[in-house]
């Protein structure tokens, strides 16, 4: 039985977020993340860490021993702080153990039912619940298959079917007139699949950012008016402002609604060579966050040179302290703010439009597993050349892609073979 996990509470900012892990590997996963587990049926406070020992959160941890749990299996519950970033990091850490996969819709319920863990009232209420899940799943699938993504997914599907078909042809039709060595073409197809999927995985992170919030970093020399601008945008005093250069040391965030999109503005330490240790840390943090942000806005002053790490990455730039120069932006007077907001809104909307769908974590998980299987198929083809083992990896890879490209059936593969090769000696 596979171990599965899922966020049991609604995704988004909340007081508490609960991730539930169910299956035989629940305990090993708990130990991997939390060091040790409380007694079954008890709770304990634990620090949650990833494989590199980074602290992700402090969580209330509950452990239930088979059969005394919601699903009737070993169940681990992590009650985390309800932050999107924390949830994402913990999900990734569970995935990275390789012991569990993301649960499919209805899967916890199904396990609970199989193990007789729901009472009559619950059972009777389930019809509607699962119906809702099904409907949500159907709509999600429909979104995925409408528009640009469907085209891309269709192409991936064709490549996967072709690669599987070529391998299958040499296995199942060995006494027919089919090519003896298909590995060059299969390798090409698999490399293409891996490249496309990797790009898609990267792209899906953008999609997730659209859902969870985009980041806009405000950059500039010390005392260019970045904190004043942030306060003006937020309409309240979030950042301390003063005439003293280097007032802002850490990254300060303000979450705003820009044209219907959730946007987090980041006020960063002014960028300059500094001897002050604390300011230095602030500056390096500013550069890191700015590099990772979706958009970088520069408040330009004459004496300012863009640090090398950010060169070519400035999306928008405006003159600083417009109240003094008469041009550009001023947080103090509000000059140019409308232009700034319009510019940001335009760019981000355009990017959002390109991301036609929000690929779910489950779909991304499928893509990642597929990439790993396709890579193993390649290793086999280059190495021992055992075609039946390479075929197995391709098959498992396609299976992992089920939730993204739809199920690839043996009939699809046979169909490709029969249309391409004249089988029937």
């Amino acid at each position: 039985m596979h171990t599965v996990f899922a966020l049991a509470t609604a995704r988004g900012k909340a007081g508490v977020a609960i991730i539930r892990v169910s299956g035989p590997e629940a305990a090993p996963i708990g130990v991997a993340l939390c060091g040790s587990l409380p007694e079954p049926g008890h709770h304990a406070l634990r620090v949650v860490r990833d494989a590199k020992n980074n602290v992700l959160d402090q969580a209330l941890v509950l452990f239930f021993r088979d059969p005394n749990s919601f699903t009737g299996e070993d169940v681990l519950e992590l009650h985390l702080h309800g932050s999107i970033a924390v949830i994402r990091a913990v999900e990734a850490a569970i995935s990275a153990t390789g012991l569990a996969r993301e649960a499919e819709a209805g899967e916890f319920t199904k396990r609970a039912l199989l193990n007789d863990r729901l009472d009559l009232a619950q059972v009777e209420g389930l019809g509607d619940l699962v119906e809702a899940e099904t409907e949500a799943q159907r709509q999600q699938a429909q979104r995925v298959f409408s528009g640009a993504l469907s085209k891309k997914m269709g192409a991936l599907r064709d490549m996967g079917i072709r690669a599987a078909a070529l391998l299958t042809a040499t296995i199942d039709f060995a006494d027919e007139e089919v090519p003896v060595d298909v590995s060059p073409e299969v390798r090409e197809l698999l490399n293409g699949l891996i490249a496309d999927l990797t790009a898609e995985i990267e792209g899906s992170r953008v999609a997730e950012r659209v859902r969870d919030g985009l980041e806009v970093a405000i950059l500039g020399a010390p005392n260019a008016g970045k904190s004043t601008l942030l306060n003006a945008l937020a309409g309240r005093e979030i950042a301390i402002t003063s005439d003293i250069a280097g007032t802002t040391r850490d990254v300060i965030e303000a979450r705003l609604d820009i044209g219907g999109l959730a946007v987090t503005f980041l006020d960063t330490a002014g960028l300059r060579d500094s001897g002050d240790t604390v300011e230095k840390i602030g500056i390096s943090r500013a550069i890191d966050r700015a590099a990772a942000a979706d958009l970088r806005v520069l408040l330009k002053t004459d004496d300012f040179a863009v640090p090398s790490a950010l060169q070519g990455k400035i999306d928008l730039e405006y003159g600083a302290k417009g109240d003094l120069t008469g041009e550009g932006l001023s947080g103090l007077t509000g000059q140019g703010l409308d232009v700034l907001i319009k510019d940001i809104s335009d760019i981000l909307s355009q990017r959002v439009a390109q991301v036609k769908t929000a690929i779910s974590a489950r779909q991304r998980g499928g893509m990642q597993r597929a990439v790993s299987e396709f890579e193993q198929a390649l290793t086999t083809l280059y190495g021992s050349g055992e075609v039946e083992i390479a075929a197995q990896h391709v098959q498992d890879g396609l299976h992992a892609l089920d939730s993204v490209i739809g199920r690839v059936d043996v009939e699809n593969i046979l169909g490709e073979i029969f249309s391409r090769f004249c089988i029937g000696k």
Binding site: M1, H2, E104, A105, G106, E107, T109, K110, L113, L114, D116, L118, L120, V123, E124, L126, G127, D128, V130, E131, E133, T134, Q137, T168, I171, D172, F173, A174, D175, E177, S384, E386, V387, E388, I389, A391, Q392, Q395, R407, D409, V410, E411, I413, L414, G415, F418, C422, I423, G424, K425
Partner: protein, 621 residues
């Protein structure tokens, strides 16, 4: 005339029929096999060959369960070739050309030697029905045979029509008269039917072929047998000839397409894509100006050759013309023209996993009537139907062959869950657990089941038990011996110096290592016999994959164990889409696992079905 009563009556003496009768008989049922002519038992009506990829696996499984086909194939094998010899064991398929006469003789003598298996010559004209239960057959002479269960293996007899160009002949096989009354009875049962077609090439006289100028394909030097009991070749090995069609051949076919039954619109049935007629090949692959033809001898004493690759429904004169255009066949004498046959089949989604009609208790269907093609597929179904019929009559628990354990299980599950769109043939790619379901371990997988059901005799039991003992000893030895990379290097094994201590089985998993390479570490390995060493090498090669697949399969196992009753009210399940509801109602899956394999099924829908099951359990409790 009054016939005695039987437990099981099998109708039809083809590959499905004899295997069904034999299985029922071995299961201890009092069995009768009714066939038109006793002389026709075990006739190969298509090409004279047994086995191949997927098909060879099926024959091995039939043999592992004590069936006939493997031994008959070995008794008649005149050109053994192990397909995919250079690939891994999981995808190797034993195949042989068979001498038709020797094959049929092997089947006939096996049936004759089965004391208590009654052979009745006659035409079954009708079924005896009590309520919704079938309990016997009526012969054309009016006599009745009562039986606890009936297995129908009547091939292409339902509205079978043979086409040779624009000539139409009613009948299920060349020379056989159609079984009209029984067909009418079946048609009256209101079963879902579909229409399929298949074809054969013209048969050519061997002496008229110019063999001297043709390329030859030889038999394997060390043949791989079908039966686990066979130890040596039983018939002289011969070569096949190879020739090709050419542009002239294709021109003739192009010019006469409208006279082909298939292309002239005379046939409505769907043909198999993997066995196209020569007309199909020329039209669909018009960029190819040559297609391979294997000239397969029909036997050591036969003067006929089966030209594999040019099946056709063109008129006789065109067949002559295009055959003459082929190198080596310039003076070919055609003994029997090629023909296409179309026929009705029963949509197998109306069958249970035991191949019993859901709508008629006691009536089992096996073979081509279920939409399959091939001797091996037919025989495997026959075995399942015959065995299941016997178990039912004896009041024993039914057996379900699982996809995880056998190709037989894959085929039956495919048939009853998904139905067929073209004549169904086995391929290794249909088995998701291909690396576990190998021809080499069919006995390990299935013989224990046959033993527990009492299907096999002492001789086979002894061979099997001794083999398993040797394997276990070897396995224990390899698992208990260990060596560090340093120790391995000392005896000439190249391995990464990672300091990891490995077992003998771990080392055996390296592609270029054999058990004999490990003798330096464990001298006892020198005592391993070749067959055991070979088998353990195969086991080690796939060990990691098999373990992984086993885990996957276990996850599915729970779903397979969850039974869905026959009358499950899909209409009452809130939240199921109409599409799924109608598919489920048609297929009537017997387990949650089977439901999960229906096209378009989701975990959420399965949860809904489970919910309903829970509610029903509570109401009945």
């Amino acid at each position: 005339m009054k016939h005695p009563d039987f437990d099981v009556v099998v109708v039809g003496g083809g590959h499905a029929g004899v295997e069904a009768a034999d299985a029922a008989h071995r299961a201890g049922a009092h069995t009768a096999l009714v066939t038109l002519r006793a002389a026709d038992l075990g006739v190969m009506s298509c090409n004279p060959a047994i086995g191949g990829l997927g098909k060879g696996h099926l024959v091995r499984e039939i043999d592992a369960l004590g069936g006939i086909m493997g031994r008959a194939a070995d008794a008649s094998g005149i050109q053994y070739r192990l397909l995919n010899r250079r690939k891994g064991a999981a995808v190797q398929g034993p195949r042989t050309q068979s001498d038709r006469a020797l094959y049929a003789e092997a089947i006939r003598s096996h049936v004759a030697a089965s004391a208590g298996l009654t052979l009745i010559e006659g035409e079954v004209a009708d079924l005896v029905e009590h309520g919704e239960r079938i309990c016997g057959v009526v012969l054309a002479d009016g006599s009745e045979i009562n039986a606890g269960a009936v297995v129908l293996t009547t091939g292409t007899f339902l509205r079978g029509i043979i086409h040779i160009g624009d000539r139409k002949i009613e009948g299920g096989r060349m020379g056989d008269k159609p079984a009209v009354r029984l067909a009418e009875r079946m048609m009256g049962m209101d079963l879902p039917l579909g229409r399929l077609k298949t074809g054969t090439p013209p048969r050519i006289k061997s002496a008229s072929i110019n063999w001297d100028i043709l390329e030859e394909q030889q038999a394997d030097e060390d043949p791989t047998f079908f039966s686990f009991l066979t130890t040596e070749v039983q018939a002289r090995q011969v070569a096949c000839g190879i020739t090709h069609t050419n542009t002239k051949t294709h021109e003739i076919i192009q010019q006469n397409l409208s006279r082909s039954a298939m292309y002239g619109g005379m046939i409505e049935g769907v043909g198999p894509r993997y066995c196209p007629s020569i007309e199909d090949k020329v039209v669909r692959f018009s960029d190819k100006d040559s297609h391979q033809i294997f000239l397969e001898p029909e036997g050591l004493t036969s003067d006929l050759v089966y030209p594999n690759g040019i099946s056709t429904s063109l008129p006789e004169d065109v067949q002559h013309e295009y055959v003459y255009s082929i190198v080596g066949l310039e003076a070919a004498e055609i003994q029997q023209p090629g023909y296409a046959i179309e026929y009705d089949y029963v949509d197998p989604t109306c069958l249970t996993a035991q191949l019993e009609l859901r709508a008629r208790k006691g009536l089992y269907l096996a073979g081509q009537i279920n939409g399959t093609t091939g001797y091996e597929e037919a025989a495997a179904q026959g075995l399942v139907a015959g065995l299941s019929a016997a178990l039912q009559v004896q009041g024993r628990d039914p057996i379900t062959f699982s996809r995880r354990e056998s190709y037989i299980g894959v085929m039956i599950d495919d048939l009853i869950t998904r139905g067929v769109a073209e004549p169904y043939r086995m391929f290794t790619s249909r088995a998701e657990y291909r690396l576990s379901l190998r021809a080499d371990n069919a006995d390990e997988r299935l013989t224990p089941l046959a033993l527990s059901l009492g299907l096999i005799g002492e001789a086979r039991k002894r061979v099997f038990t001794e083999k398993m003992e040797r394997l276990q000893q070897g396995r224990d030895l390899l698992n208990s011996m260990t060596a560090t990379p340093k120790e391995a290097t000392a005896v000439g094994i190249t391995v990464n110096a990672d300091g990891k201590r490995r077992t003998g089985m771990d080392y055996l998993a390296f592609p270029d290592l054999d058990a004999s390479d490990l003798i330096g570490i464990a001298p006892e390995l020198a005592d391993l016999d070749d067959a055991t060493a070979r088998q353990l090498k195969i086991e080690a090669t796939y060990a990691t994959y098999v373990a992984r697949q086993k885990k996957d399969a276990e996850a599915l196992g729970r779903d397979e164990a969850k039974q869905i009753p026959r009358d499950f009210p899909y209409g009452e399940v809130i939240g199921l889409s109409n599409e799924l509801r109608s598919k489920l109602s048609r297929v009537q899956p017997s387990t949650l696992g089977q439901a999960g394999r229906i096209d378009g099924m989701t975990p959420a829908a399965l949860a809904l079905i489970l919910t309903k099951l829970r509610q029903m359990d509570r109401k009945s409790a």
